[in-house]
């Protein structure tokens, strides 16, 4: 077993372990922190795959943005140390069964499928990504890029409109 394999298995165990803790722990703040560790592990997996650009985007957007946003909203909406009520035992057992069945089915299909590996080396660079992102011809991503920028603008305006404090006289009416 080479060092690369050992690193992969350690990273996988870290990601899955922290993800399980994140969905099962009863304190919501701990849940957010476990999610943070899981996302950092996923960024490590991208580093292991040698796509450093995606790893950097993962760290900047997920770890630096979304998790901070989630922690903020936890502080704004409830007591961080309070325990959440446990789910009823029937629901837990049914969920575990459903999830195990789904996992078994999906992994069976993946295992039986023969993937034809490409033979060329994987060469990406930020230069290539940027060129293709703004290309308008074949294989260009200029249109989705513009659509996503409009979506971000709409989401920003929408957030402000939804979360803005309404005036007291409007509230009653």
């Amino acid at each position: 077993m080479t060092a690369s394999q050992i690193i992969f298995y350690i990273l996988s165990a870290f990601i899955l372990g922290t993800a399980v803790l994140s969905v099962t722990t009863n304190k919501i703040f701990r849940s957010a922190i476990w999610l943070l560790f899981s996302l950092i592990g996923i960024a490590g997996l991208y580093f292991w795959l040698k796509v450093e650009f995606i790893a950097a985007v993962q760290i900047v957007v997920y770890v630096g943005g979304i998790v901070v946003l989630i922690i903020f909203s936890i502080f704004l909406t409830q007591q961080a140390g309070k325990e959440m009520p446990k789910p009823p035992i029937v629901r837990s057992v049914a969920s575990v069964l459903a999830v195990l069945f789904g996992f078994a089915l999906s992994y069976f299909l993946i295992y039986k499928n023969e993937f034809k590996a490409g033979d060329k080396p994987f060469d990406w660079s930020v230069h290539k990504i940027g060129n293709q992102m703004l290309a308008t011809g074949e294989n260009g991503y200029a249109l989705p890029f513009e659509v996503v920028s409009i979506l971000l603008l709409a989401a920003m305006v929408g957030c402000i409109v939804i979360a803005i404090k309404s005036k007291p006289e409007e509230k009653n009416g």
């Binding site: 909203s73 837990s92 989401a155």
Partner: protein, 104 residues
């Protein structure tokens, strides 16, 4: 790199996807449900990158899909948290069971 077969990486992402599904099934708090959705989206992202790298190494489409999914996930999380905070203001709770008056 080549010594890890593709199916091992897909095992990890499938497991991550179904861990997120488990969270979505059992949790009733909106913020924790949002966290489960983030786990699911991350497993899909890893899948895109891995398929791109292992199966179609001469193209870059998987990387582009991952970038767009990350962008949309950020927008989705922001809108969801705005909705959650607004709901908390009117109901003093972010449990999905208490927010049922729009159901019928």
């Amino acid at each position: 790199m080549a010594e890890i077969p593709l199916s091992h990486i897909l095992f990890v992402t499938t497991a991550l996807f179904f861990i997120g599904m488990y969270g979505l099934f059992t949790r009733r708090n909106m913020i924790t449900m949002l966290m489960s959705v983030e786990l699911i989206l991350n497993s899909v992202n890893i899948n895109f990158v891995v398929f791109n790298k292992y199966l179609y190494p001469d193209k870059l489409d998987g990387v582009f899909f991952t970038i767009f999914i990350i962008t949309i996930a950020a927008a989705e999380a922001a809108v969801a948290i705005a909705i959650i905070i607004n709901l908390y203001r009117s109901h003093r709770s972010i449990d999905v069971e208490t927010a049922e008056e729009m159901k019928w």
